[in-house]
Subunit: 197 residues, 2 copies
DNA sequence: CCGCGCCAGATACCATCGGTATCCGGCGGG
DNA sequence: CCCGCCGGATACCGATGGTATCTGGCGCGG
């Protein structure tokens, strides 16, 4: 039996992962403020002490959750654009992905709500900014790569276009989380307008 | 002496206005969650009872604050575009206004933070959505008016363009409230890209 | 002109939350 | 084998939004 042959560090890593998993679900479903650490810990089968033993506080837990989410999002975009196909197919794949991602836009809602929290903690703000810059950088590189591959050019500098798309996605998601009636296609419409020519 | 010649309703209206004024300042400065009703009431020279006597709760107070802010924003845009001048002058005036408005983007931060709160209260969500639709409608009409006046056409349907600009403004403000290093000009750049031709 | 009802605002209290301090029990190195 | 160390549990605190209850002065009717 190799069953209980887990070291203490491994047990803690499992606890940490489980907490992140549960917290991710609850943060996305109910929002940051409405999710209490007590409920997260209880739902994960632990007590609040476990949370504070694995994270410095609620904010660090949310940062860990955001890291998981960001990784998923990046993977989604890469899946859409990595396939060998013409630009239109890729754009369609991306549009489908965006539909799903922005169609259930709890992610951006969490992102901006946590952004408000970060304004009161220098360290958290710095961590968030670091992540946003990485994302923006990745978007910029992707745009450049796709544009070069397709022989098109953007009407705006790549970095500007990346900022625009990220802002648009965040804003659109935030508004749509309140009013699902807002049209999702706005996003791809603007994308096309930016890569015209 | 016509001094204390104020009826009770007038007194209450004054109290209400003063609470809104103070709450607006504190909400914009510290955010929604970080601003307690106790502090607002105390700063305004009242007790928490006065707040609950004038508003159903924190959310209704914030809605009243947002109404004031929205009125100011609409006035700002109108001031930029109402003047008799050529399109470029108007766009420059608007860009200057946007620089100031997005340069100190606490407003959008409050807007999205409160949006997260609204997700847990059907009535608040409906009220917010109502206001957002009015704003989007106003933006659409303004775009149509300016476009017609200048003999230009938008590359996207007016309503779509309005959605795009509102989302972009909100998202850009939210990101900039965390990272002021993000370039403000993205907004006007996209505007120009949309009205090209 | 006066007295009483009513309502804006004050006060007291509660539940919940994030965070801290302290404690417990089992894993693992010596 | 045993004791120290640490992951996690428990108890507690201050702050906050909200509710229930009270009160004192304005203002209407007699």
């Amino acid at each position: 039996m190799t069953q209980t042959k887990v070291t203490r560090a491994e047990r803690q890593a499992q606890t940490r992962d489980r907490l992140i998993e549960v917290a991710k679900e609850m943060f996305l479903r109910d929002g940051y403020a409405a999710t209490s650490l007590d409920k997260v810990a209880l739902e994960a089968g632990f007590s609040k002490g476990a949370v504070y033993s694995n994270f410095r506080g609620k904010e660090e837990l949310c940062l860990a959750v955001l890291d998981v989410i960001h990784a998923e999002k990046v993977q989604g975009v890469l899946d859409a654009f990595t396939q060998d196909a013409d630009l239109d197919t890729k754009l369609k794949a991306f549009a489908a992905w965006a539909h799903q991602g922005l169609g259930e836009p709890r992610w951006t809602a969490l992102e901006v709500e946590f952004g408000a929290v970060a304004r009161h903690n220098e360290w958290v703000a710095a961590e968030l900014v670091k992540r946003h810059r990485e994302i923006r950088e990745a978007i910029g590189q992707l745009i450049a790569h796709v544009a070069e591959e397709s022989g098109l050019s953007t009407t705006l500098p790549v970095q500007t276009a990346a900022s625009a798309l990220l802002s648009l996605g965040v804003g659109l998601g935030a508004l749509r989380s309140l009013d699902p009636h807002v049209d999702v296609d706005v996003f791809t419409d603007v994308m096309r307008a930016l890569v015209r020519e």
